[in-house]
Amino acid sequence: MAHVKATKLNVHGFCLNANGTIVRIPRSPLPLNQGNRVHEWRVGSIDDKDTIIAHLEQILEGSDDAHDFLRQRAALMVDEMLENALYAAPRDADGKQLFAKGGKRGLLPEERITLRCSFDGERLSLEVSDSWGSLSPETVQRFIALNLAEEGAEGDRAGRGLFFMWRLMDDFYVSVQPGEATAIGGALPLYPHPDEKGA
């Protein structure tokens, strides 16, 4: 499957450290195509989510606990990435969200959503891109700060999906060409830090 190289300047390309602080600007996308097979899916509707996750779980085959936990994390990341691209990214001129989560959702004629991954046996790289470019660095940092606040576990806390991505993935990054494209990605290690095993 083809790896699509980004040819335009990333106007807002950044990654966030463990404190939610922007640490490098701009940051290049993950090297998804360096020696490992890149799997790429063009998303047509929300109905594709379970099919993509099932394919990804096949790529991450392995019967031990580490592979099982990697499959669990990968499924969640893809779920959040696609929900974000399908429902949170599409905005009108006033920044209002166009589609409500849970609704039936196909792509608009000019819209493109692509999910890519590669797995080298110890590290799964994931990236989702959409053709909206509606995310700002300030929004990402606000969502992470909001969800880091431990007091009061509100049900409807904004940006929780993005927070999960930042929390679970190594080298989490966001690359935005305002009004044109957004790419969000990072990597899941097969053997995560002991603090991040959920035990």
């Binding site: 379970d50 929900e83 409807d156 959920g198």
Partner: protein
């Protein structure tokens, strides 16, 4: 393929066991509306042993539901049957501040 989402409630002497089957996401919203009405005791065990993925929307539904059960039914809520990733999410989002982990057999 994952099984469709549904909630089963089993009445028991130690309280009601609420079993969540399938993925918990935005599509589960309507099922949570009915859950509160079906709770009849003040001891609730939420069982996630047949649950698949719980995404951020699912976490929001669970937080709302547990808060409602505690506030309106004056019930104690405990949790069992979590897999590794869902345990991690519950820790990250404060669900364990609202509901304790039940001892499993």
């Amino acid at each position: 393929m994952e099984q469709p989402f549904k909630i089963d409630i089993r009445k028991g002497v130690g309280g009601d066991t609420v079993q969540f089957h399938g993925n918990i996401d935005a599509h589960a919203d309507q099922y949570f509306d009915d859950l509160l009405k079906q709770i009849s005791t003040n001891r609730i065990i939420m069982d996630f042993s047949t649950t698949g993925r719980i995404n951020s929307m699912g976490i929001a539904l669970l937080l709302r539901s547990i808060k409602s059960i505690k506030a309106e039914k004056k019930a104690e809520v405990s949790i069992q049957g979590l897999n590794q990733i869902n345990t991690m999410l519950f820790k990250m989002t404060g669900i364990f501040m609202l509901a304790s982990e039940a001892r499993t057999n």
